[in-house]
Amino acid sequence: MLKFVLKRILLMIPTILLVILIVFSIMNLAPGSPGRLILGQTAPQEAVDQLNEELGYNNPFLVRFANYILDICKGDFGNSYRTGRPVFEEVLNRLPVTLKLSTCAIILMVSIGVPIGILSAVKQYSAMDYFFTISAMFLAAFPVFWFGLMMILTFSLHLGWLPSNGAETWRHYIMPIITLSLPYLAIVMRLTRSTMLETIRQDYVRTARAKGASEKTVIFKHALKNALLPIITIIGMTFGLMLGGAVLTETVFSLPGLGTMIVTAIRLKDIPQVMAAVILLSVMFSFIMLIVDLLYAAIDPRIKAMYKKG
């Protein structure tokens, strides 16, 4: 089993390399050389050229990319064009806020979305089902940043209950967490519901009923156990979407996390900063999907068998 885990982790490496290549290539398209961006528009051309030479800007694309990878292995993501300090430092500074936001949002999303989805499926066509399904459709269509603004409007300005920006106390996190989790909660709820509906329709559920099992046993022991696997995948994929939504949420609530860092860095054309953050977030997402895969192998006996052999 350990062999399987190691094998999967090793397989992830080429994918991550590809991810870095893609981000690197995209940012490479940006106009302006590093020298120019660092020294500013007014700096003399010779200084710019010299700096570019030092930074290896004139090397061919693949050489630059290879150097970038080698540097990353040493933990060096380059220096910020703006501050000159190692980019990774700033990333690590900002990471906790984003982690706190995303983790709590996911917990909220799963603990509410999944049970409601299951409930809706079990009581299909009931008034409750209709209510939840329709609400979910609405919530999924809400832009995360608009919802944030509406929350600020209501809870900060009108009612004065909660602070609208910054991240000093836990109170500062309440609205962002709710804002971030709601649209994705809706998605998870709908997908959980449809997965459960499909599972309940399976033949082996009918067999369980024919044995005389109670509805509760049928739903939990038979249907849910099988539905759990696709549901875990859904949660993993939604996490990826949520990381994107975190950028918008942080912006609305002025939280000093990776999201706002990326936005500022883009505005200031601080390319190493942008790359480091995007790569880190992508790697985080890949790891989540890896965990999903491993969970699959741990829970589903069919997959477990496949990997015991290889």
Partner: protein, 292 residues
């Protein structure tokens, strides 16, 4: 000749049947109606309220006026009529949604078909790249591309399309993989039918269903992503009245003119919701077995 006519009538009645099933779905119909209303306003935006005069020209004396009979949705921080801006913004949003989706579907179909149909190394190569791209959260990918290319509608559309191409590649690839091994495809091949003809006559008609459903949902995603990027300043820049941009400008006045936030937001929600409802309805109409 008669055989051709028969297949044509069969196809027509199939479409009629799908439309009939769709009509029964009230939610989908509501979505369709809402989309039509927005589309109407988008198409006739210029006739209803001239762009230059109402949406863009600043009128500082009339700024920040709440909804009234003269300005049904009020005016914004620069005195511009919010309703006029909304409908021109609708034009932008719908254009972005539909064009970007079309582009994504096009490239996704090509890549997905190649991967699914030819398999082997080509499939491997395309799938690996698709998987890698999908590791990057869609908004971040669009953000990167938008930042590299700069502001503007075309750049925004390129950025958003790219972020959705992997999704379509996957869907189309999996449809083709399922169909490729069907017996009737093997039969066609054994008769000597060319690859292109097989794709055109047998595979595409079956793939159209899932593609249409996915595309409809994608339009909704694209509208949301475009608004999001514009909101943080990476998409459509002021003074253009994209809804996300309008929200970003409205943020300053949140205390005294909250209606500025309500209207663009509601427009985004209604649009995204309608396309979702329509997409859901299409999915049920195309394969009724999935419903009960």
């Amino acid at each position: 000749m008669e055989a051709v006519n028969k297949t044509q009538t069969k196809k027509n009645s199939q479409i009629a049947e799908i439309w009939r099933r769709l009509r029964k779905n009230k939610a989908a119909m509501i979505g369709l109606v809402i989309i039509s209303i927005f589309a109407f306003f988008a198409i006739f935006a210029e006739n209803i309220a001239s762009y230059e005069e109402f949406a863009v020209k600043q009128n500082i004396r009339e700024r920040l006026q709440p909804p009234s009979s003269e300005h049904i949705f009020g005016t914004d921080g620069y005195g511009r009529d919010v309703f006029a801006r909304l409908i021109h913004g609708g034009r932008i949003s719908l254009t972005i949604g539909i064009v970007s989706t079309a582009v994504s579907v096009f490239f996704g179909a090509i890549l997905g078909s190649m991967a699914g149909f030819y398999g082997g190394k080509i499939d491997n190569f395309i799938t690996r790249i698709t998987d890698a791209v999908m590791c990057i959260p869609a908004i971040l990918l669009a953000l990167c591309v938008a930042s590299a290319l700069g502001n503007g509608m075309i750049n925004l559309m390129i950025a958003i399309s790219i972020s959705q191409i992997p999704g379509f590649t996957r869907v189309i690839r999996s449809v083709i993989l399922t169909l490729r091994d069907q017996d009737y495809i093997r039969a066609a091949r054994s008769c000597g039918t060319s690859d292109a003809r097989i794709i055109y006559k047998h595979i595409l008609p079956n793939a159209i269903g899932p593609i249409i459903v996915q595309a409809t949902m994608a339009i909704s995603d694209m509208i949301l992503t475009a608004a999001g990027l514009s909101f943080i300043g990476m998409g459509i820049a002021p003074p253009q009245p994209e809804w996300g941009t309008m929200l970003s400008e409205a943020k300053e006045h949140i205390r005294y003119a909250p209606y500025l936030i309500a209207f663009p937001g509601i427009s985004i929600v209604l649009n995204a919701l309608s396309f979702n409802l329509l997409g859901d309805g299409l999915r049920d109409a195309l394969d009724p077995r999935l419903k009960d």
